[in-house]
C-alpha cells in the first residue's frame, strides 16, 4: 500500500508540473498588473492551435512550437492589453467582463478558422515511450520533460523578477505604482510587457499541453479553473505561491484519487482550498498590503 502511494506520488509530479505551467502566466499578470485575465485558458488554447499549425503546417515538433507559441501568444496578449485592458486598469469588475469577452471572441475566431473538429498534436519522437519509475509503473519521457520545463519556467521567471534591473522596476511598480511613475519608471510599459510575458507563458503552456490533450476550441476552460485554484491556494504575493499551490493541488488530487476515486479526490482538494482560504484569505503566500491605498 505504501509503495503504491509512493508510485502515485511520483506520477503526481507530472500533474503538478502541468498546473505550474498553466498557472504561471496567470500568476504573473495578476500579481504584477493586478489584472484577472479571464481569457487565460483561451490563451492556452490559442497556443495549442499555434502548436498544431507548427506541426501540421511547418513540420516542427514541440521544441519548435515552444518559442513560436511564446512569441505568438505574447503578441496576442500585447494587442489585448493595448486595446482592451489599457483603459480598465483601475476597474477590476470591468476587466473581468472584458477579458471574459475576449475569451468568447477567441473561441469563436478559432472555430471559424479551424472548425470544430478536434486536432491532434504528437509529442516529439525522442520523448515518446517511457522509463520504469519506482513501483514499476512506466513513467513517460514526455511527463519528465514537462516537469523539467516547469522548473525551467519558474527559474526563468524568478531570474527575470529578482535578478534583473527590469525585474526590480517591475517589483517597484507592483508595490507602489504612483511613486514608481514619479521616479521615472514607465509604468504603462511595464504593465504591457508583463501582460505580454504572462500571455507568452500561456502560449508555452498551450504548446506543451497540446500533445497530452485533444486540441479543441473549448479546451482552455478547465486549465483556467485549475490555474485560478492554484493562485487562490498559493497566493500571488510571492512567486513561491505557484509551485506550492500546484504541489498541494496536484499531489492531493493524484493521491486522493488513488485512495478513493477521482471525484472524491477533487472534492476533498476543493474542500481543503476552502479551508485554507478561510484561514488565510490571500492564499498561503498572499501579500499583506502595508501601505495605505496607492494601488490603482
Amino acid at each position: 500500500m505504501g509503495d503504491a502511494v509512493l508510485t502515485q506520488f511520483f506520477s503526481g509530479f507530472s500533474l503538478v508540473a502541468i498546473l505550474i505551467i498553466a498557472a504561471l502566466g496567470l500568476a504573473v499578470i495578476f500579481g504584477v498588473a493586478g489584472v484577472i485575465n479571464m481569457a487565460h485558458g483561451e490563451f492556452i488554447m490559442v497556443g495549442a492551435y499555434v502548436a498544431s499549425v507548427v506541426q501540421s503546417g511547418l513540420g516542427g515538433n514541440t521544441f519548435w512550437s515552444i518559442p513560436i507559441c511564446f512569441v505568438a501568444v505574447g503578441l496576442l496578449g500585447l494587442v489585448v492589453e493595448r486595446t482592451v485592458i489599457r483603459g480598465l486598469y483601475d476597474r477590476p469588475l470591468e476587466t473581468l467582463l472584458a477579458t471574459w469577452g475576449v475569451s468568447l471572441i477567441l473561441i469563436v475566431v478559432i472555430k471559424m478558422i479551424f472548425g470544430t473538429e478536434l486536432h491532434y498534436v504528437g509529442s516529439p519522437e525522442m520523448l515518446q515511450g517511457g522509463f520504469p519509475a519506482p513501483g514499476n509503473l512506466p513513467f513517460p519521457w514526455y511527463r519528465l520533460f514537462l516537469i523539467l520545463l516547469s522548473i525551467l519556467l519558474l527559474i526563468a521567471t524568478f531570474v527575470l523578477f529578482f535578478r534583473t534591473k527590469f525585474g526590480l522596476a517591475v517589483r517597484a511598480v507592483r508595490r507602489n505604482r504612483s511613486m514608481s511613475e514619479a521616479m521615472g519608471i514607465n509604468t504603462a510599459r511595464v504593465d504591457m510587457l508583463i501582460f505580454a510575458y504572462g500571455s507568452g507563458l500561456a502560449g508555452v503552456a498551450g504548446a506543451v499541453l497540446a500533445p497530452i490533450k485533444t486540441v479543441s476550441p473549448t479546451m482552455g476552460f478547465p486549465y483556467a479553473v485549475d490555474s485560478f485554484m492554484v493562485l487562490v491556494l498559493g497566493g500571488v504575493g510571492n512567486l513561491m505561491g505557484v509551485p506550492v499551490g500546484a504541489a498541494i493541488i496536484g499531489e492531493g488530487e493524484t493521491i486522493l484519487a488513488f485512495l478513493f476515486n477521482s471525484v472524491i479526490g477533487k472534492l476533498l482538494v476543493f474542500l481543503l482550498i476552502v479551508l485554507v482560504i478561510r484561514i488565510v484569505p490571500r492564499g498561503i503566500f498572499g501579500y499583506q498590503e502595508r501601505t495605505l491605498g496607492h494601488r490603482r
Binding site: R175, A182, M183, G184, N186
Partner: protein, 231 residues
C-alpha cells in the same frame, strides 16, 4: 528653470489649484507655506505629473511638461520626495536607490559616494528592507533616492512631518547641505517656520489653491504669518 503658469488642478470634480503661477529659477530654494488643505501637496503632484493640471502650463528648462507623463518628467530631471516617504517596503535600501537610477535611465546603478557623505546613516542600512526603517531613516532614504537621480529641481513635501525634534534637526541640516552642495533648485513644502526663515531665500504662501503672498524671506513678517498661517 521651472515655470508654472496659471495651472488649474482638480481632484475629481473638486477644484484644488486656481490659476496658480510660480517660477523657480535655477539654484533657488523656495518654501511653500500655507495651512492644511490649501493645495501645497497638490502643487508638487501637479509638477511631477501625479495630478496633472487641466489648464495652464508647466515649463521646465524650456520643455512643456503640462501633458507629459510622470515618468518622463522624472527623467528630465524633476526629483520628488513625497509626503509619507513612500519607500518600497519590501526592497532593500540599496535596491530602492538602484531602481531610482535605473528608472532615470542611468547606465551605472552604483550608489554614488556623495550619498554616504550626505547620509552617513545609510551605509550600514544598505541591505535592510525599507519597511523596517524608522521614519527618520525612511525620510533620508527617500531624499537620497531623489538625489541619486541628479535632479535639476527637487520637490520636497513636508520632509520633517511626524519626526521627533532631533531628527528634524538632522533632516534640516541635510537639506541645507543639499542646497549648498548639490547643483539643484529646491521647492520645499514645510511647516517649520523657524527652518524656513533660517534656510530658504524665498517664500510663497498659499491659500485656497492660489499663491497669495510671495517674496524674499525677509519679507515674511510676523503679521503675514498671523494672517495666513496661524490656525
Amino acid at each position: 528653470m521651472l515655470e508654472i503658469d496659471k495651472i488649474n488642478t482638480f481632484y475629481g470634480t473638486s477644484h484644488i489649484l486656481h490659476d496658480l503661477s510660480l517660477t523657480i529659477p535655477d539654484g533657488a530654494m523656495i518654501s511653500v507655506l500655507g495651512r492644511n488643505g490649501v493645495g501645497k501637496s497638490t502643487l508638487l503632484r501637479s509638477i511631477i505629473g501625479l495630478n496633472p493640471p487641466r489648464r495652464g502650463s508647466i515649463t521646465f528648462n524650456g520643455r512643456d511638461l503640462t501633458r507629459m507623463s510622470g515618468h518622463r518628467r522624472a527623467r528630465l530631471g524633476v526629483g520628488y520626495v513625497p509626503q509619507g516617504r513612500e519607500i518600497i517596503a519590501d526592497m532593500t535600501v540599496s535596491q530602492n536607490l538602484e531602481v531610482a537610477m535605473f528608472a532615470k535611465g542611468m547606465r551605472s546603478t552604483k550608489v554614488p559616494d556623495f550619498v554616504y557623505d550626505l547620509f552617513p546613516m545609510i551605509k550600514p542600512l544598505m541591505n535592510r528592507r525599507g519597511g523596517v526603517l524608522s521614519g527618520g531613516q525612511q525620510q533620508q532614504v527617500a531624499i537620497a533616492r531623489a538625489l541619486v537621480q541628479e535632479p535639476d529641481v527637487l520637490l520636497l513635501d513636508e520632509p520633517t512631518e511626524g519626526l521627533q525634534p532631533s531628527v528634524v534637526e538632522e533632516i534640516d541640516q541635510i537639506i541645507r547641505r543639499i542646497h549648498a552642495e548639490r547643483n539643484c533648485s529646491i521647492l520645499l513644502v514645510e511647516q517649520n517656520l523657524f527652518f524656513v526663515r533660517e534656510v530658504t531665500e524665498q517664500f510663497a504662501i498659499m491659500e485656497n489653491g492660489q499663491i497669495v503672498v510671495s517674496g524674499d524671506i525677509a519679507q515674511l513678517t510676523d503679521d503675514l504669518v498671523a494672517a495666513h498661517l496661524s490656525v
